[in-house]
């Protein structure tokens, strides 16, 4: 349920930036969210409909670019999406791996009129 706070922040940033260009309406919000950020799209959408009501962002389309968790194997260089209960490299089965993608939680751009 931290999506409420996340959604409020999305709205605040969008309104602030729309105001800078004196936009009349915000029609789209483009988000990049990594799997590791543990944020649920449906919850954001749910809170968005409530929070954006009465603002110039009401009805704006939320576009989610989801980033999979990716790991890089330090032994063989393979880049892979880890399994449910293992982080081992599927190619060399090595356990020396590092996260290379998935922490993203950012607002990329907004579409305004």
């Amino acid at each position: 349920m931290h999506e409420l706070a996340v959604t409020q922040s999305i709205l605040d940033i969008a309104l602030k930036n729309a105001e800078k260009v004196s936009a009349k309406r915000i029609t789209g919000i483009n988000l990049v969210i990594g799997r590791l950020a543990s944020v649920v799209d449906d919850s954001i959408q749910f809170y968005w409909d409530i929070l954006s009501d009465g603002t110039i962002a009401k009805g704006a389309q939320l576009n989610f670019t989801r980033m999979r968790t990716e790991m890089c194997c330090l032994d063989c260089g393979n880049i892979f999406t880890p399994g449910e209960d293992t982080f081992a490299c599927p190619v060399c089965e090595g356990n020396r791996v590092r996260v290379s993608q998935g922490d993203e939680l950012r607002i990329e751009s907004i579409d305004v009129e």
Binding site: H2, A5, S9, L31, V99, I107
Partner: protein, 218 residues
């Protein structure tokens, strides 16, 4: 006509900025602060109470209590003569920087060396919200199982120390320490880890010494 405006901003940047302000307030007062996170039942409160006990006389401590279920513990800390603040999170699933900013003035920071913040018991939400402390600490526990780094990877990413509590239960619970540590290492390479039992006191000395070292070298 539709126009696209590039922003590229962390969604929680406002919270991050407030966290930075909290850190400045703490630094100005010469206080070291830690954020203690864990799932409900991992033993946050027990570890904190044992830590207060272990550091009694070595550091001047205060507590910010954010867990929903433990207002009683702020009273316990206060009863032990320690300054304590209870944050009423109103059912929130995590603490954020604004809540800490509101709580800090209630502590006599000038007279303290260390502030321990007990976050809301939750393995998902608190990970995203910086509160403005020097170290984020995660407490895992043996009965939770060895798969938690794999199931809740986000939580293991941003912490500076890991306490593995309830190691006195290792003989009775299936827990593959190597598997557990492998997951942790992938998510947070070289993370300093303290296997402890808040119940028996095992390992608590090493954890307490680490904390004293952090406070003194600040």
């Amino acid at each position: 006509m539709t126009q696209r405006i590039a922003i590229v901003e962390n969604i929680l940047s406002a919270n991050d900025e407030m966290a930075q302000k909290n850190l400045s307030v703490l630094d100005a007062a010469g206080v070291y602060a830690i954020n203690i996170m864990a799932s409900p039942g991992a033993g946050k409160t027990s570890v904190i109470l044992k830590t207060l006990e272990a550091l009694h006389g070595r550091l001047r401590m205060g507590v910010i209590e954010g867990d929903l279920a433990t207002s009683i513990d702020a009273e316990k800390a206060a009863a032990a003569g320690l300054p304590a603040v209870q944050i009423n999170t109103g059912g929130e699933c995590h603490l954020d920087a604004v809540m800490i900013a509101r709580a800090l003035p209630s502590l006599p920071l000038a007279d303290l060396d260390l502030v321990l913040v007990e976050n809301v018991g939750n393995l998902v939400c608190p990970a995203n919200f910086k509160i403005g402390v020097h170290s984020n600490i995660l407490i895992a526990s043996i009965p939770e199982g060895d798969d938690k780094p794999y199931k809740y990877p986000g939580m293991y990413r941003g912490v500076q120390a890991l306490i593995v509590n309830k190691i006195d239960l290792l003989p009775y619970v299936p827990f593959d320490m190597e598997y557990f540590r492998g997951g942790v290492e992938a998510l947070n390479p070289g993370l300093v880890t303290f296997p402890v039992s808040a119940k028996t006191g095992e390992g608590m000395g090493e954890w307490a010494d680490w904390l004293v070292g952090k406070v003194k070298s600040k």
